[in-house]
Symmetry: C2
Subunit: 324 residues, 2 copies
């Protein structure tokens, strides 16, 4: 069985209106056959968070929702807790404090069971802290700012579901360019993935074994590729800005697909403007008519020109007011 | 005479402590022979701003400071106002509203006199709004956020002192990646320059005519090079995130030099760690002594090894606690 998709959600996914991301998660987990485990360990709340997601997932048609809520590494070793994941089709890790989540779950039977579940096809989703923990190298915490500075953030070990990349979330909203640039400058074999709120990076392995990422939701996913970086991260002092020259950026809105293994954009399909398409179709029709008229040899040029002008006089399409 | 340097300052330059940038400006303007014009038109204040900079520049040793304060395009056509720039060696444009500044100054005799002053070697500095106006294509205003969105900012025409680039300021502090990315996605012949607070991009033309930028101050200058961008900026709707894939980033702290014409980093000189250098020098000395001892043929290996161990027993240097 192919491994299940990862859904790396940038936090604050819409819960009331469009619910694009939660819907996609439940659908990917099997829709009305979905059995979902909610892991709220990152949160300082507990049953309240589970109640919210329980209601949300059932509203989207999920068959069953179960809470898996270890509060200590002992809990995460408890076979009864681990067994809760045996027959789920989707796992959802909530937001909160990713270092609390990783400190309790990583390297325990429960952590291993999450990784194992993905290998048998289960969808693994996480939002905010639950997104961060999916990478091998996890942003533990850090400050805001656009400019990378030497000690502005801290890395810890995550679940390792995504090995190519380090994940940051609330990216558009919380000014996190600096901390993600600092991390990739210090670890240039990693890609940086900055996921906006109400946005998800959906990562699936294709038949070649490549990690293919598709963007879903309201914002964008920003990919930082430091493969050819020039940096002084190995000698910059204290909290000084660091040199990070030659990082390639990809800002990817919904619908875009990026190959995380090859580090290239899958070329987008150009969008055809419906107004422009209608105009071209009309012009082609005019030309065919003109050719027929000429062939029929009733071809007084003035008559032809007037007929064309009448046809063209119809209002044209401009549905959006976009620049011409 | 070669054209004068531009100092593009990201706002909030230090005025009380190190004063790195204001010092560099006065020194470049001639030190105790500096005659400086302050243009406070962007500011909603007026005489107060001039008083502050008057005091600051005189404290750094400037010979004279004069206010050039047009409040309308008529003022900017007044020959008496324009004549104030005749014998200055430095011009300093304050912060405030760059659209007010450009609306009053650009395309007037005063605007032409600023451009002309640079051509005869005068230093042209601007902070915040006064920085923005230096480019040909000027950020007029716009919202914050890391992700570029279709209508998040507005471009107007600036003074045109810097043609290769569009300038944004308060870059680290105000989360302005998105708006600068939007602009370069729509105008990929331009570089984006994001200048942090208390930081300056100092741009001078070299003998080849290249615009060479050197970074001064506490933060960094971020260069966005969209030469190879893939974008949907020409068809993205309303305020949606736009695709901006393949933008090359250069985050440049103080001391770095970047060729804006060729769009390449001038390779930094690697720093030598003083502790490491001392250790290597010592090891070389040991080896020379060993060679002498062997050559002198008093070479009992045990004696030699003990002697070496005694020398090595001295404490080694680790002044900074940086990673080994």
């Amino acid at each position: 069985m192919p491994s299940g998709p990862l859904m790396v959600i940038g936090g604050a996914e819409d819960k009331l209106r469009r619910r694009t991301i939660l819907r996609e998660f439940v659908a990917a987990s099997g829709g009305d056959r979905a059995r979902i485990a909610v892991v709220p360990t990152a949160s300082s709340l507990g049953p309240e968070v589970v109640e919210v997601y329980d209601a949300l997932f059932r509203r989207e048609g999920a068959a069953d929702v179960v809470a898996v809520r270890p509060q200590s590494r002992d809990d995460a070793h408890d076979p009864a807790t681990v067994a809760l994941l045996d027959d789920v089709t989707g796992i959802f890790m909530t937001g909160g404090n990713q270092l609390k989540l990783s400190a309790i779950v990583c390297g325990t039977p429960l952590g291993d069971a999450i990784v194992g579940a993905r290998e048998r096809g289960v969808v693994i989703a996480g939002t905010s802290a639950g997104a961060s923990i999916q990478s091998s190298h996890m942003v533990a915490f850090g400050g805001p700012g656009s400019t990378p500075k030497q000690r502005m953030t801290q890395v810890a070990a995550g679940l390792g579901l995504l090995e190519s990349s380090v994940i940051d979330q609330h990216f558009d909203q919380r000014n996190r360019y600096g901390r993600l640039l600092m991390i990739v400058a210090q670890s240039p074999q990693l890609l940086g993935l900055g996921v906006d709120e109400d946005t998800a990076a959906v990562v699936e392995r294709d038949e070649r074994g490549h990690e293919m990422m598709r963007v879903v939701g309201r914002g964008a996913v920003t990919v930082m590729d430091p493969a050819r970086i020039t940096t002084d991260a190995f000698e910059a002092k204290r909290s000084q800005p660091i040199l990070a020259s030659g990082v390639v950026l990809h800002v990817l809105p919904a619908g875009q697909v990026f190959d995380l293994t090859e580090r290239v954009l899958v070329p987008p399909v150009p969008q055809v403007d419906p107004g422009e398409a209608a105009e071209i179709a009309e012009a082609e029709q005019d030309l065919r008519q003109l050719a027929r008229d000429i062939a029929a040899a009733d071809a007084d040029p003035i008559v032809l020109r007037r007929r064309l002008a009448r046809r063209r006089g119809r209002p044209s399409h401009d549905p959006d007011g976009a620049p011409a």
